[in-house]
């Protein structure tokens, strides 16, 4: 099947290569959801010779659309009137709606467009309240657009309940919905393909942002149908924590994942940083995904152990991806993690902390999907991963969330805090898949030069 690009590489991936070349598509969504920007990016992104014909109706004045359009970097004003031709149907619609199809045919003959956008199609239908008359016009219009070799895009403020009732949805080959969903005090935008006749597509809600260069879309992370096949690696990796490796059979197995659970202040972030620092010392690039400590706070922590941030952080060493938990959106983070792991040839990854990631997911089952996918992806690439997970109390208790996700990890470390006169931190290896391990409780000390696990067994 021949396809045309949407003008956006990620949307093309979601559509399995783009829109079918000769198709009628409805782009639906509430006001402000990004429909017009989507259509304009598509119109201006055409690489071939035939122009895009952008027909406005009675929703927004043409001058307003063109004025706001120029705020976006993808819209070169020099292309207006040549590669993208704007025409208004407003006068015709209010005075002679019966001539709509003839007018469309005339515009096709005049401009020979490769794509045709009608914005707003829904507003146009509303001007013709006689349903039988509108159906005749719609039928003829679909006839013209099927006869002529172009992809058409009908933009409208349609809602989900209209998909099964309005005749234009029966005519359409593709239906793409843009939505806004509240997430805390923030509105998140999602793109969803409802229908794409004759073609498969990546189903579900795909997060997107509107930026100066158009829509930035993140493909919904999906669980692979079957786990990737890879050979386990027997190599052991030093944890970077003095005394810990002897509890885990001389270190973590490469490509495995570890969950470090414990209350706030128990040393989870410190354990992750030691693991990454040891990797840098061994020539293994690392990535720290951090939702709590901003770069300044993190530099302060690193300096407190006598380490030099500029000797640790940098290309080929430690990469830091910091996102405020307030702005966290799980699809965009996971996509960015994949991108940085590939780009930076990352061998050690720490995500601090899972609780922030869980709160950013739309539901708990999707959260587990993300973790499973992350684990599979990293294991198949030999990336050794550590997740931190804050537990609700300072005793050795994982909590409900930990019980749900711990089966996904190869190793489970539990940190505790005891307040009996003085603060004592403890560490236990609860699980280390495929490794002999010492499950006793040991004392974990934070010394001026970093973490140390004592050899003696700590009392409960």
């Amino acid at each position: 099947m021949e396809r045309i690009s949407s003008g956006n590489q990620v949307i093309d991936r979601i559509l399995m290569g783009g829109f079918p070349a000769q198709s009628i598509n409805i782009i639906m969504g509430e006001p402000g959801s990004g429909k017009t920007i989507f259509a304009e990016q598509l119109a201006f992104g055409r690489p071939d010779g035939r122009p895009a014909l952008y027909l406005t109706t009675v929703s927004e004045p043409l001058a307003k659309i063109v004025t706001y359009l120029q705020e976006y970097t993808f819209a070169d004003p020099a292309h207006i009137g040549t590669r993208v031709i704007y025409e208004s149907l407003a006068g015709l619609l209010t005075e002679e709606p019966e001539r709509l199809v003839d007018s469309l045919m005339s515009l096709i003959k005049q401009h020979r467009p490769g794509i045709i956008v009608i914005d707003s199609f829904k507003a146009m239908a509303e001007l013709i309240p006689d349903r039988a008359r509108w159906r005749r016009i719609l039928h003829d219009m679909a006839g013209v657009l099927t006869a002529y070799d172009a992809a058409s895009f009908w933009i409208g403020e349609y809602t989900a309940d209209m998909v099964s009732t309005l005749p234009e949805f029966a005519v359409a080959d593709g239906v793409l919905e843009l939505t806004r969903q509240q997430s805390g005090t923030r509105d998140d935008r999602y793109l969803r393909v409802i229908k794409l006749r004759g073609s498969d597509f990546l189903a579900g809600y795909h997060f997107f942002r509107i930026k100066q260069d158009g829509l930035e879309v993140f493909v919904r992370v999906v669980t692979p149908d079957a786990p990737e096949v890879y050979a386990p690696i027997a190599e052991r990796l030093a944890s970077g924590v003095n005394g810990l490796d002897e509890m885990i059979d001389a270190g973590w197995l490469r490509g495995t994942s570890t969950i470090v659970m414990g209350p706030s202040g128990a040393g989870k972030t410190a354990l992750g940083l030691h693991f990454l620092r040891e990797g840098v010392a061994q020539g293994e690039p690392g990535l720290l995904v951090n939702f709590q400590e901003n770069p300044t706070q993190l530099a302060r922590i690193i300096e407190s152990w006598g380490w030099q941030p500029d000797q640790l952080i940098g290309p080929g060493q430690l990469d830091i991806l910091y996102t405020s938990p307030v702005e966290l959106q799980i699809d965009s983070i996971v996509t960015e993690v994949f991108r940085r792991v590939e780009r930076g040839r990352v061998r050690r990854l720490v995500i601090d902390a899972l609780g922030d990631l869980e709160r950013s997911a739309r539901d708990s089952s999707r959260y587990r999907d993300y973790l499973y996918t992350l684990n599979q992806y990293m294991a198949a690439r030999g990336v050794t991963t550590m997740f931190t997970l804050e537990t609700p109390d300072r005793h050795e208790s994982g909590g409900g969330s930990a019980r749900e996700i711990s089966p996904m990890s190869d190793n489970l470390l539990l940190l505790g805090m005891q307040l009996d006169g003085e603060l004592r931190r403890t560490i236990r290896v609860l699980k280390s898949r495929g490794s002999a391990h010492d499950g006793s409780r040991r004392q974990l000390r934070i010394s001026p030069s970093g973490l140390v696990v004592d050899r003696s067994v700590a009392s409960p």
Partner: protein, 148 residues
């Protein structure tokens, strides 16, 4: 004239001397007809339509078009049968036939004797290109095998 010229006579003397070359089109979709007429006439050809397959043989004998462009799905005799009938008749066998269909039927069109096949929808560049290629190929093959 050159083979791809839209004016004058065709490779076998078909068409109208001194006038734009005639293309006979069999198509029932009014929107496709409108676009075919516009693009072909814009390229310099004269276009005449037949309502269905049953009348096309007699009309082709009568007006001697340079090319017959036919859809497969037409009223009466289907487009492939039209193609066979034109190629079986010594009076019309040299008329070039372009099957222009919504169906993916290139092999069937070739088996029926069509000189060219093009899949819908109407794309100006592809349609005019197909017509010009047929005319160029027809000119290279030399004089017609039969005339009326």
């Amino acid at each position: 004239m050159t083979a791809s010229s839209p004016s004058g006579t065709g490779p076998d003397g078909t068409g109208r001397a001194g006038a734009a070359a005639l293309i006979l089109v069999i198509e029932r979709d009014p929107h496709v007809r409108a676009l075919e007429r516009f693009f072909l006439e814009d390229a310099g050809y004269t276009v005449e339509f037949c309502d269905g397959g049953d009348s096309v043989i007699a009309r082709a004998r009568s007006v001697r078009p340079i090319i017959v462009v036919t859809e497969i799905l037409i009223p009466g005799m289907d487009g492939l049968s039209v193609c066979r009938a034109l190629k079986a008749d010594p009076a019309t066998e040299s008329i070039l036939v372009l099957v222009f269909s919504v169906l993916a039927a290139e092999d069937r069109a070739r088996e029926a004797g069509a000189d060219g096949f093009l899949r819908k929808p109407v794309n100006e560049t592809l349609l005019i290109g197909a017509v010009e290629r047929l005319l160029a190929d027809g000119a290279q093959e030399g004089p017609p095998r039969g005339t009326n």
